[in-house]
């Protein structure tokens, strides 16, 4: 079936079978391999993308759900629209060593951005609870939590400007 949607700010139309997961569509057909597949039970969160601004697991989303929607993947995450700058959350992860092997990172970032957008004044407990659906095996989460809080603060500051 034909599916039209906005992908990282660009109108996109694809031909895909209904039994196509959005994660597969992105990785295999659209060559956007930043969205990762870390499990098959919808537990790990490495595949989180934003569908109409909300965090969703692209491995648990069928392609037809994209029709008419807006999708943001890690490849589209950026500072100012159209800029080559990194998003404040990406900057915060780099600054605070919030990643090691990098595999969970795209999903962590997408979850973190949504979390910070939803609640401006995140506490440590909010962040830890909000990352419940994202598993990292490398960092022990400590620097991820620190990064998310710093990234959220930077997002707020940018909003206030």
């Amino acid at each position: 079936m034909q599916i039209s949607f906005t992908l990282n700010g660009r109108p996109t139309t694809v031909e895909a079978a209904p039994a196509t997961l959005v994660s597969e569509l992105l990785r295999e057909q659209l060559h956007l391999t930043g969205t990762h597949i870390g499990c098959d039970t919808s537990q790990c969160g490495a595949c989180v993308v934003h569908l109409d601004g909300l965090p969703v697991k692209s491995c648990t989303l069928l392609a037809p759900a994209l029709d008419g929607a807006t999708l943001l993947t890690i490849e589209g995450l950026q500072g100012a629209p159209g800029s080559n700058q990194m998003h404040p959350m990406q900057e915060a992860f780099r600054e605070h060593h919030g990643l090691q092997c990098g595999f969970c990172t795209p999903g962590m970032l997408m979850t973190a951005v949504a979390l910070a957008a939803e609640k401006p004044d995140l506490t440590e407990a909010d962040v830890r609870h909000g990352l419940e659906g994202n598993i990292c095996r490398c960092t022990g989460y400590q620097n991820i939590v620190i990064s998310v809080m710093a990234g959220a603060a930077a997002m707020n500051a940018a909003k206030g400007e």
Partner: protein, 265 residues
């Protein structure tokens, strides 16, 4: 995944017709259970009937005595709803404990109730509040709806359109999360109404169930101490690598106590 046909009906009768006319067809709402099941090849439907284009199935309304939540309303919306937070805070709290943020973005109340997973949260809220399940053809009382492990009173071609919750005097939910899956190892929902208290338990057995001795005791005295000494029978409770049946039975008491505390807080 194995290929399947995909339908996005615009009207409920069309959806119902597709469901009865296509063998091995399944409804999909948020897909939070169905899609992983298909991926694992535990289900191989011939067709999926997507309810997202039906319109009007999402949203929360209130008529004073009841709060009605459209079947396609995502958990995140229920959790964040000021209306639900004001009228039935125990229910919005329950919604905020389901899965994780991404699951709450997509997963719907109708999907959860129709699936009746023995460890899902919503069945406890629906049964605990004595809600009414509104379908394409009728209204079903929660007490008649949940029939055990993944079984419900829904008939072939019947589609949940909304859940209607009576507004309680007080209600609370306490959940002991299974550490890996984050489903309820044991979840207890308590609701106090003018005519008595209802207690519903999820996670502990093959399906959601009520606990009459706790209800009787809490109707007398709606206080955590009223349930602290009430032990439920371990017969028929689930025993697995995460929790043995007697531990689950014990947790029912503890979670009931905490649910009452939550209701009173």
């Amino acid at each position: 995944m194995k290929p399947f046909a995909y339908h996005q009906p615009a009207r409920i009768p069309d959806a119902a017709k597709l469901l009865t006319s296509i063998e091995d067809s399944k409804l999909v709402a948020g897909g939070m259970t169905l899609i992983p099941t298909i991926k694992q090849r535990l289900a191989n439907p011939a067709a999926l009937i997507d309810l997202s284009k039906l319109g009007n199935l999402s949203g929360i309304t209130d008529d004073g005595a009841t709060v009605t939540i459209g079947a396609m309303t995502p958990h995140a919306v229920v959790a964040a709803s000021e209306l639900v937070q004001t009228k039935i805070p125990g229910l919005s709290a329950l919604a905020s404990m389901i899965g994780d943020p991404a699951v709450r973005s997509r997963g719907t109340i109708g999907g959860s109730v129709a699936n009746n997973d023995p460890a899902a949260d919503y069945p406890a809220g629906v049964l605990g509040l004595g809600a009414t399940i509104v379908t394409s053809t009728r209204q079903i009382a929660a007490d008649k709806f949940f029939l055990g492990l993944f079984e419900t009173a829904l008939e072939s071609g019947e589609i949940i359109t909304a859940i209607r919750f009576p507004v309680p005097l007080k209600a609370g939910y306490a959940k002991f999360k299974a550490p890996a899956s984050r489903y309820a190892l044991v979840g207890v929902f308590v609701a106090k109404f003018a005519d008595g208290v209802r207690v519903a338990v999820t996670g502990a057995g093959p399906g959601v169930f009520r606990v009459p001795p706790m209800e009787a005791s809490l109707s007398e005295n709606f206080d955590p101490t009223a349930v602290a000494a009430i032990r439920i029978d371990t017969d028929g409770l689930t025993s697995d690598i995460h929790a043995e049946a007697d531990y689950r039975a014990h947790l029912v008491t503890v979670m009931a106590k905490r649910a009452v505390e939550a209701a009173l807080s």
